[in-house]
Subunit: 309 residues, 2 copies
């Protein structure tokens, strides 16, 4: 970092023999979060987490971020401080430098735009289009927690205060899989990767489309967060469908050549998160879900979750 | 550009022997523009221009940008296309690659965040803190046009359709001084630089503070746009005060060692814009305006323009 906040722009020295990976993501009040049940610290955390997750999905090491905040005049100063601290705490944990930013007022909703810049070795970049028929599909962590957490918070805003609720914690303070993304990119275990910000089902569709393959996901193999499963079942939803179409899980979907699968073991040991095999890429172009007892039913994999709808 | 729109993030190869210069700026409807008299193409143009101006003020060559748009559901598709075209046309002109972006809906105002990345040689960076007592202050182009143009548009929204009105054209389609910024940075003519997005007076204050100097600006020397002067006078305002405290002029303020002033001539010839000497940096820390007939009055230089107020 040569020049930080205070001049017309931030200045950094590029890293040698690395390409630069850039991503931008926005959180808009009323679209991506509801201030009645999302503490300001969580809003800040999620804004940066979404971007770190994009870098993780490319196998890039995050380096710095720029913020752009549009703040409603009624935002209490304490909330502003907490929001910044939410960003800063996650940034510190991942050694991301907050290099600059822009602050303006908003006559409407609170909006946060975060731009992150990271680096990767060119040959180790994890794109969406490298999957081949026969590659196995793995997902990090558990899915469905964020969608269930959001539903729980909508039903009972005070749930945000419970630190023991896995689902609300996952929704409010998702952990971007930066380390795992780096490890599988560096050891070339993965042929394609993407994050699940719009849901697991959407990610499978996207990797299949970008790579020109089909895919079969096994419903029974999908690692649905147990308390989310319970919540969905209790509300009359099929837990797997709800989990794979719900948004805001910042896990990674990875395609892996079967002969390289052992490299995942090493990544799993150092990556701090479990990997679960959920399916396989196919030559046939359809993207399917095997479900029912003993996987006897095969249906098209549902679409993903889109904030824009 | 190795990977553009379509993957989780954009990927670029850094330029050798260059540092990277990053800036982010937001335009928020109701704060920075009014859709009733700002054509969508101008909104897009201004969003990118503000950022290119920040790079120009650092002496950096722009390279790529990332966009983040929050769109109200009622925005007509044609307006969206025109907005994007406003960004794209200016980007093409400056060979800036639109490397990626993010699109979301807004339950309130239209918001555009633009992040630009550029490059510069480390030793040629133009910062705010290099001015020394005795350095002369120069400004590019003419000032006050944007503020007058905004006032004209507020008074008569149909003025936006006139292409012969210098003031409204300057407000709607400001020309960032990218080339001039590069030239004075490369030939090391300038010791400090800043853009005038918050007004000339604010820029003088900022450079003086960052450099630890004072400054004296001569009111008579300030190149106020003639039609803006006329407008301000006709509305009972002192033209110089209105021009130097008005925002949205994307000109550059430069501090220049007197013995290097001849280098400005070369920059002026190739930079496509006139440079005017408006004052000098002083040892005494006050920031003053000489005004009145024959400069006999000396008053504190007024403050700048802040959207946040």
């Amino acid at each position: 970092m040569l020049i930080g906040i205070g001049d017309d722009a931030a200045v950094v020295e590029p890293e040698k023999n690395r390409v630069e990976v850039l991503s931008v993501d926005a959180l808009v009040e009323g679209v991506h979060f509801d201030r009645t049940f999302t503490p300001p610290q969580a809003i800040g955390h999620r804004a940066l987490a979404a971007n770190l997750s994009d870098l993780a999905a490319m196998g890039a090491a995050p380096r710095l971020c720029l913020l752009s905040l549009a703040l409603p005049p009624a935002l209490p100063v304490g909330d502003f401080d907490a929001l910044i601290e939410g960003i800063a705490a996650l940034a510190r944990r991942h050694r991301v430098h907050v290099a600059g930013g822009n602050l303006t007022r908003s006559p409407g909703p609170l909006m946060i735009d975060v731009m992150v810049s990271g680096t990767a070795k060119r040959r180790q970049l994890l794109t969406r289009n490298g999957a081949r028929p026969g590659d196995e599909l793995y997902v990090t962590g558990r899915v469905g927690a964020a969608a269930a957490g959001l539903a729980m918070l909508k039903a009972d805003p005070s749930a945000a205060r419970s630190e023991t609720n896995t689902c609300t914690a996952q929704y409010l303070y998702p952990e971007p899989r930066v380390r795992m993304g780096l490890l599988v990119a560096r050891n070339r275990a993965a042929t394609a990767g993407m994050d699940l910000s719009d849901g697991l089902a959407d990610a499978v569709h996207q990797i299949a489309r970008a790579s020109g393959v089909g895919a079969v996901v096994e419903a029974e193999a999908v690692p649905v967060e147990p308390s989310a499963r319970e919540w969905f079942s209790g509300h009359g939803d099929d837990p797997v469908t709800a989990a794979i179409t719900g948004g805001d899980d910042y896990e990674l979907l990875l395609a892996v050549r079967p002969r390289l699968a052992r490299r995942l073991t090493a990544a799993e040991r150092h990556g701090g998160v479990v990997l679960t095999r959920i399916g396989v890429c196919t030559e046939a172009p359809s993207v399917l879900l095997k479900c029912g007892r003993g996987n006897e039913q095969v249906v098209p994999l549902p679409g993903g979750f889109h904030h824009f709808r």
